[in-house]
C-alpha cells in the first residue's frame, strides 16, 4: 500500500470517527442544528415583515432570504465544534498517540476536517430541505442547490481550519469553546440576517468588509436570484482567503506542538 493510500485511509477513518462522535453526543449536535433552526423559525416569524421595508431586496419571502444566514450560522458552529473535538482529543492524549504512529501529522488534522465538512454538507441539506418544506423557492434549481452545498462545505472546512489551528496551538477545549460568543459577534456583524443597507451603524459598515458577508451572499444568490455568478466569485475568494490563513495557522500550530510537545 502506497503512502498516499495509507494517509487517505487514516483521513477516512478519522473523518468517520468525528462524524459518529458528533451524532452520538446531543450536546454537540444541538448547537449545530437545533439553535440555528430555532432562530430561523423565530426570526422568520418575528421579523418577517422586514421584507416590506423600503430598500429590502426583492425576495419571495423572508424565509428564503434567511436560509443563507441559518446555513452560515450552522456551518460556523460546526466548524467550532470540530475544533472543540480536536482539542478534547489533544487533552485526552489521543492525538499524541496518532502523532507517534507512522502516518502524516497533517492527515490527523485533515481527518478531523473531513468530519467537519460532513457536518457542513448536513447543515446545507437540512436548511435547504427546511426551506423547501416551508415554501421557499430555490431559484437556482438543482444546480443552485449543489452550489450552495459545495460552497457551504468549502466554507466549513476553511473556517474549521481556524478552529483546528486554535485547538492545536492551545490544546484546550475550553479555549476553543470560548470562541462560541465570538461566532455570534462575527455573524451579527455580517449580512447573514439582514441586508447590509438596512443595518444600523456601525454594524452596517463592518458588514460591508466582513469576509463572512461575501460567503453569505454567495450562498444566498442561488437561493434568492438563481445562478448568475455575481456574488459567487466574491464568496469563493473569501473562502480561499480564509482557507489560506487557516492552513498557515494550522501548519504553524502543528510545528509548535511537535516542537514543544504542548
Amino acid at each position: 500500500m502506497s503512502r498516499l493510500e495509507t494517509n487517505l485511509r487514516v483521513v477516512r477513518a478519522l473523518g468517520m470517527r468525528s462524524v459518529r462522535q458528533t451524532f452520538r453526543r446531543p450536546q454537540l449536535i444541538a448547537p449545530i442544528v437545533v439553535f440555528p433552526t430555532l432562530l430561523l423559525a423565530i426570526q422568520t416569524g418575528g421579523a418577517g415583515a422586514a421584507v416590506n421595508l423600503p430598500g429590502f431586496p426583492a425576495v419571495q419571502s423572508f424565509l428564503q432570504f434567511m436560509l443563507a444566514g441559518a446555513i452560515m450560522q450552522s456551518l460556523m458552529l460546526a466548524a467550532n465544534s470540530g475544533g472543540i473535538a480536536l482539542a478534547v482529543d489533544i487533552e485526552m492524549g489521543f492525538t499524541d498517540r496518532l502523532f507517534a504512529a507512522p502516518i502524516s501529522r497533517y492527515s490527523v488534522v485533515l481527518g478531523r476536517l473531513v468530519g467537519t465538512a460532513a457536518l457542513g454538507v448536513a447543515a446545507a441539506l437540512w436548511f435547504l430541505a427546511i426551506g423547501l418544506v416551508f415554501g421557499a423557492n430555490i431559484e437556482g434549481g438543482v444546480p443552485g442547490a449543489l452550489v450552495v452545498i459545495a460552497l457551504t462545505t468549502a466554507a466549513t472546512v476553511a473556517i474549521g481550519g481556524v478552529g483546528s489551528a486554535i485547538a492545536l496551538r492551545t490544546g484546550k477545549a475550553s479555549i476553543v469553546q470560548g470562541l462560541f460568543p465570538l461566532i455570534f459577534v462575527i455573524l451579527f456583524l455580517s449580512t447573514a440576517f439582514f441586508p447590509q443597507g438596512l443595518m444600523v451603524e456601525p454594524a452596517q459598515t463592518i458588514a460591508k468588509y466582513n469576509p463572512l458577508s461575501f460567503i453569505v451572499e454567495g450562498i444566498r444568490e442561488p437561493i434568492v436570484t438563481g445562478l448568475n455568478g455575481t456574488d459567487l466569485l466574491g464568496a469563493v475568494l473569501a473562502v480561499a482567503g480564509i482557507a489560506t490563513i487557516s492552513l498557515l495557522m494550522s501548519a504553524r500550530a502543528l510545528r509548535h506542538r511537535l516542537r514543544t510537545g504542548g
Binding site: 418575528g46 415583515a49 421595508l53 423572508f62 460568543p181 440576517f193 438596512l198 454594524a203
Partner: protein
C-alpha cells in the same frame, strides 16, 4: 411550617452558589456575554424594523431590552440545572439527600440562588442598553424589571432542575437552554404582535411569556400601568407553580 434549620439550609445553599461565583468569576461571564451580544447584535441587525408602520416605538433598543433581560435570566436559571446535573454526576446531591433537610428546602436553595444570580446579567444588559440609547423605564419600571428577572430565573431553574433530575446528566444542558430560549423568543421578541407572521404570531398570542415581556417592556416604551403589569405577574406565577411542582416531584422521586 418553615423551621429555622430549613432557612439555615437554604441560606447555606445560596451561600454555596455565591462562593462558586466568587471563586470562579469566569463562570458568570457566558451568562452575561450571551444576552449582551444578542442584544447588541439584534439591535444592529433589526434596528430599522422601527420604520415599519405599526411599530410601537422608534427606539429598537428600548423594544428589545426586555427580551435580553429575560434571556439572561433564562440562561442563569438553566445553568442551575446544569450545575445540579453536575452535582448528581459527582455524587454531591446524594450527600444532600442523605441529610435530614426536606427536599423542598434543597430545591428552594437552588432556585433562590438562581434568582439572585440573575441580577448580574440583568444589570450588565441594562447598562449596555442605556449606553446604546434605551429609554429610562422609571423607578417603578426598574423595580418590575428586577422582580420579573428574579422570578423568570426561578422558573428557568425549576424547569432545568426537573430535567437534571430526570436525565441525571449534563448532556441534557442543550435541552435546558433551548427550552428557555424558545419560550422567551416565541413572544413579541422582535416585533409587535400585529407585525408578526404565520405560526409564530399564533404561538406568541397564547405564550404566557408574551405577557411577561410586555410587563417588562412597558416602562421602556411608554409608562408603567397596573393593567400591563398584572397579566405578567399572573403568567409568571402560573409558570412557577407548574415547573415548581414538576421539579419538586423530581426531587422527591430521586432516590439515594
Amino acid at each position: 411550617m418553615v423551621r429555622r434549620q430549613d432557612l439555615a439550609t437554604i441560606a447555606a445553599l445560596v451561600n454555596r452558589a455565591k462562593n462558586e461565583l466568587l471563586r470562579v468569576p469566569g463562570a458568570a461571564v457566558p451568562g452575561v456575554l450571551a444576552p449582551t451580544i444578542f442584544f447588541l447584535g439584534l439591535n444592529g441587525v433589526f434596528g430599522s424594523l422601527t420604520q415599519l408602520s405599526g411599530f410601537t416605538t422608534d427606539s429598537y433598543p428600548s423594544f428589545l431590552v426586555p427580551v435580553s433581560l429575560l434571556q439572561g435570566a433564562g440562561f442563569t436559571g438553566a445553568a442551575t440545572g446544569v450545575n445540579l446535573a453536575r452535582d448528581i454526576e459527582q455524587g454531591w446531591l446524594d450527600r444532600l439527600l442523605a441529610s435530614p433537610a426536606p427536599r423542598w428546602v434543597l430545591l428552594t436553595g437552588l432556585v433562590l440562588a438562581a434568582s439572585l444570580r440573575a441580577f448580574i446579567p440583568a444589570t450588565a444588559v441594562l447598562l449596555v442598553a442605556f449606553g446604546v440609547g434605551a429609554h429610562w423605564p422609571g423607578v417603578d419600571g426598574l423595580l418590575i424589571v428586577y422582580a420579573v428577572v428574579a422570578v423568570t430565573a426561578a422558573v428557568a431553574a425549576c424547569y432545568a432542575s426537573s430535567l437534571a433530575l430526570h436525565y441525571k446528566s449534563q448532556s441534557a444542558a442543550p435541552l435546558m437552554q433551548a427550552g428557555m430560549l424558545a419560550l422567551i423568543l416565541a413572544t413579541t421578541a422582535y416585533a409587535p404582535l400585529e407585525l408578526m407572521q404565520g405560526w409564530l404570531q399564533d404561538v406568541a398570542r397564547v405564550n404566557p411569556m408574551t405577557l411577561v415581556v410586555d410587563a417588562v417592556r412597558q416602562g421602556f416604551v411608554g409608562g408603567v400601568s397596573w393593567e400591563e403589569t398584572w397579566p405578567g405577574i399572573l403568567a409568571l406565577a402560573g409558570m412557577l407553580a407548574i415547573v415548581g411542582a414538576l421539579s419538586l416531584r423530581g426531587m422527591r422521586r430521586t432516590a439515594l
